[in-house]
């Protein structure tokens, strides 16, 4: 009844009696209350860890999600791998650089062209 209104005599007496009764608790009860209080105050320490856990758990989940995204989608398995140092890659580069060779490579009957070229080499060697 702090600020709202004045206590009348009866209210003041009941208040004084009840408060005095609260102070007259036996030792065992006071001891149990003190232990309960200590236990409650000790609960404040884990709270800080819970704050950190609440912050770190979403961050960890986000990092895991990003890692999985990179593993699954960052590695494009549909695209062919090109090793610039391999003979096939060198052949492809020469083919693209030489316009005539590229046109020949687009012909449908490549075997015939190779046969004709081989025959021409034989004739030139024989003649």
């Amino acid at each position: 009844m702090s600020n709202d209104e004045q206590l009348d005599d009866f209210e003041a007496r009941t208040r004084a009696t009840l408060r005095a009764g609260s102070e007259s608790l036996d030792g065992a009860t006071r001891s149990r209350l003190a232990r309960a209080r200590a236990t409650a105050v000790a609960q404040l320490a884990p709270r800080r860890r819970r704050w950190q856990l609440q912050l770190l758990a979403p961050a960890g989940a986000l990092a895991a999600a990003m890692l999985l995204t990179v593993l699954f989608f960052g590695h494009d398995r549909g695209a062919p791998e090109v090793n610039p140092g391999s003979p096939a890659a060198l052949y492809d580069m020469e083919l693209l650089a030489d316009a005539d060779a590229f046109e020949i490579s687009q012909e449908a009957d490549l075997e015939f062209i190779e046969w004709a070229a081989a025959m021409a080499e034989l004739e030139s060697a024989g003649g």
């Binding site: 009844m1 702090s2 600020n3 709202d4 206590l7 005599d9 009866f10 209210e11 007496r13 009941t14 208040r15 009696t17 009840l18 408060r19 005095a20 009764g21 609260s22 102070e23 007259s24 608790l25 009860t29 006071r30 149990r32 209350l33 003190a34 309960a36 209080r37 200590a38 236990t39 409650a40 105050v41 609960q43 404040l44 320490a45 709270r47 800080r48 704050w51 950190q52 912050l55």
Partner: protein, 194 residues
Amino acid sequence: MHPLYCEGLGLPAMTDDTGQALNRFLAEVERRAFRMAQMALRHDDDAMDAVQDAMLQLARRYGGRPQEQWRPLFFRILQNRIRDLQRRRTVRNRVMALLPWRQDDEDPPDPVADAPDMGPGPGEQVEGEAMLAALQAAVSRLPARQREAFLLRNMEGLDVAQTAAAMGCSDGSVKTHYFRAVQSLREQLGEYRT
């Protein structure tokens, strides 16, 4: 760095100061809280459980709140816990009443109910422990909401707004419950008015 904020995180932190403040607050209210629970539950162990639970919940859930909020929060938790225990006891008593092998002497002793009922007597002046026992018995007989309003306002000294916050009701309801409680206690303890 502000002492109430974790370094680098900007989050409320439980510092040693907070622990000491909470310890001081609980030490200041714990005995009255126990008496409140005792008058409501009429059982010492249940009263201790209610107070202990209220302390733990305040520390765990609201320890980071501003200290001026602790008092109404603590007593709201306590009142909720008392109601839970009363409901549980009601259910238990109904179940026990249905059991055919129930023994009538299973009820624990009730020190408040067993306190002498100080009816009006001619010129009788009672002080000290007898007055306390009569008052506690009378408060115990009040309806729950009247008892809460009376104890929070009168014994704990909360103002109307704080009492309303602790009881989860409006200011007007607090005033009504408190007025009726005082009227009822005046009638029951008439001889103690002077």
